[in-house]
Symmetry: C2
Subunit: 198 residues, 2 copies
């Protein structure tokens, strides 16, 4: 009766992370599970495998399917969807801002809005202007937050967080942890929450 927290590792560039970002807070709340947001960058992890970019780009036989699947999944979950004209989009600054916000009450709404910029509005997300707009919409001190996000200490934190993902065995996103149990992919969100609340 005392649910474990759900560690939620995600990258704003990742289309399947979009599905989980939109669903996780509401679904977890229904089960009394606390979400621990863990923004990170997939790029350095893919590079450690010798991959220059997303496997959806490197494996062209898979990419048509992935976009068709995304359209169907978004319809299933009632989410807006536009296939991004640039994929994967650089997600460095949004990840840095998310690291500043990870324990703040605005984190969920910030993440959902940035994801919708990328996967519904088809807009560049790696820009101080775009992110300031999102933060200001949430009534926050956008300039201060972006400045903190771009500070040396926070840049190092994101590098450390990404390295921690790698050492924990993360190889894609979204990835969930419940204690030591790792779950990969939006398709495992419900199993992970079931494990957390069992």
């Amino acid at each position: 009766m005392n649910p474990m927290p759900l560690e939620f590792w995600f990258d704003f560039a990742s289309n399947y992370s979009y599905l989980s970002v939109m669903r996780v807070e509401q679904t977890a709340a229904r089960l009394g599970v606390i979400v621990q947001w863990r923004p990170f960058l997939l790029g350095p992890i893919f590079k450690s495998f010798g991959w220059s970019t997303s496997p959806f780009v490197l494996q062209p036989w898979k990419s048509d399917y992935v976009w068709r699947d995304m359209a169907r999944q978004c319809r299933k979950y009632g989410l807006p969807w536009t296939r991004p004209t640039t994929f994967p989009r650089s997600s460095l600054l949004p990840a840095r801002v998310a690291l500043v916000g990870a324990d703040k009450p605005w984190m969920g709404e910030y993440c959902r809005r940035v994801m919708q910029l990328n996967f519904a509005a088809d807009r560049n997300i790696d820009s101080a202007a775009a992110l300031s707009e999102v933060l200001a919409q949430l009534g926050l001190a956008a300039q201060d937050i972006v400045a903190e996000a771009q500070g040396a200490a926070n840049k190092l934190r994101l590098r450390d967080q990404t390295e921690l993902a790698r050492t924990k065995g993360v190889f894609g996103a979204p990835t969930f942890f419940v204690g030591e149990e790792m779950f990969w992919g939006n398709d495992r969100l419900d199993d992970a929450l079931g494990c957390a609340s069992a």
Copy 2:
């Protein structure tokens, strides 16, 4: 109210195909959906991508996860599970026999038993002896069926079927088609059935 059939493409070597083989007939029947069994070989498709074997072998960072995931998925579905000591197992003869049986009433039970040899009993499945045992347990003329499976015409049929999978865009298993709509992975079986019966 007139469900479309579900084309079910699978390989006896594929662990995620195991989950679908065990579930598909019962789940489809509940919705009045007819299963069209499409055994094929993943090996030639992987080779066309320049891969010498399963991506779960070529990407060692993923394989530990896959086996953990399989154990959890089998528990969820109430299926027996033993991590195979050889992976991927050669599945040539079982696929040839399955092609002979694809439209026969014994197909489902044959496939489930072969899959359980591989993923529950940890036994070699590419052997006339093992398959004859399965067929005999089903009360079938094992010798005749194995002989037909190994005939020149049937060997060619399996090559054609695998080539058809490739031209349809199949890149992994299990894969489902409902008309032109392709669904990849055991995680999409329910969506595919929903599409077939919509």
